[in-house]
Symmetry: C3
Subunit: 201 residues, 3 copies
């Protein structure tokens, strides 16, 4: 129940960030709506296709309405959003942490091996952005400099560890999401990034 509400908040926030990303491109309103849709729901959709599970937005149209409301809100309040962009970045980071744990949980509930469940967490958290960037004709941000996949994996490992220690699920969820969010924020503030491949090679 708490998880569903948090999921809805994540979808709403990602829709806004998707629409704002599209507005930097020469896209029209319809293009922006599609980009908002894939940013918010693409990662979870890919996960459910791979796992042959029912797809959330097909089962429950509220996800669709949330994308539409989020897009309209981003269009209507873009000046306000610009002012509160630090708060938005915080929400976006919480959304990423949340999607990571939701995907990981789904993998664990299907009794997948740990590494596979972790991959499904990362797919849920990051592939919305990957599809958004691919459709926008860019090399996905997350392949180049955003380090949040690393933050996701750290949060996922914490979640698995606390679960093994039988920490109550709500406390575990909050701790893991806080870890993902904190790492991402620290990384962005410090401008840390992973080594580039052509530096390595």
């Amino acid at each position: 129940m708490v998880l569903t509400i948090l999921d809805f908040i994540g979808v709403f926030v990602f829709s806004m960030s998707g629409l704002l990303a599209a507005s930097n491109k020469k896209m029209d309103v319809f293009g922006g709506l599609i980009i908002a849709f894939v940013t918010a729901l693409g990662g979870g959709t890919l996960r459910d296709i791979l796992l042959d599970q029912p797809i959330a937005w097909i089962v429950n149209p509220w996800y669709i309405y949330l994308v539409i409301f989020g897009s309209i809100a981003a269009l209507a309040f873009n000046k306000v959003l610009f002012k509160i962009r630090k708060a938005l970045f915080l929400f976006d980071s919480i959304g990423i942490g949340l999607f990571m744990i939701i995907g990981l949980q789904k993998g664990l509930s299907l009794e997948l091996p740990l590494i596979t469940a972790l991959i499904f967490g990362v797919i849920t958290a990051t592939f919305g952005g990957v599809i958004r960037d691919t459709l926008s004709n860019e090399v996905p941000l997350i392949f180049r400099k955003e380090i949040y996949a690393t933050a996701c994996i750290a949060g996922g490992l914490l979640f698995i560890g606390l679960k093994l220690l039988e920490v109550p699920e709500t406390i575990n969820l909050i701790s893991s999401v806080v870890l993902v969010t904190t790492i991402r924020i620290v990384v962005v503030l410090k401008k840390w990034r992973l080594p580039l491949l052509n530096e390595e090679l």
Copy 2:
């Protein structure tokens, strides 16, 4: 039955338009064939993956042959096609209208909510072109200036309305496809487009 024949015509015409689009890129014959395939069948394939339904071209190889024939026809008769490009544009618009109603129908027959069924209509009609443009390394045309998603939605709403009024299906189908086609043609002639996001923001 009528629907299947019209579907076949749509696939044939979209194959030709896919191959002609690929020929503006530095692609070889094999690349052109793949682009023709995804343009003609990509939207319906994505719809059926999402809905966990059997995929038409896997069940019925005639769809594959139609793509091959359409591609050969486009290669062989490209000078003729250039002369009749207005007729082709008409066929292409009819194909879009048809794919919209086929996708919408499929969604309705699975008892999806109206908004979800509409989305599946739009996916069927437009995602072949979106995949084509993404593979060709372009921002999809439909996100930038083609307004036919709007035409599709108008046609879909008419179809749902006439269905609620219990208008016979054939008449409903024809009316809705005619509406999509007409809107698209008027829009292209008048050079109407949706507002760009960066004009809005």
Copy 3:
């Protein structure tokens, strides 16, 4: 059994070639790992999504470990790899031939029509590379100059022919993979390519 070992070798080699391809882009280590993953497993994954079959790397995590090991090997031994790049090209060609026959076999075992089974061979062999290039923001290589789809189809036709003649499967497999590999190598040495569409038109 032999097939599984060969499949593992194919995945390992494709991971290395995926990571090396990513290193020519300004990607970080995480981006390289994703590109290695999709290059090695993307074609088979798309095939199994379309056929509604269990996906190999979800059932068996060894495929995931192989991608990780292959990526680390490519990072660690890249200077050695550069020296043996002709051997790597050979392995890569064998991998393509193998993936072609694995995909074709899967299609035939599901009693699909021949042309559909051939398409699934080609998807298995080539779509990893197509997704890699699309995520790297390039027009897929195979649409522009790599002729190996043609080599794949030739090998697939040989496999079907020898199967009809009831040639034992191992001999058939080896012959078909050798044919694909040989054609690809000859084609690359001779710099043959398919005609470009804009030469045709």
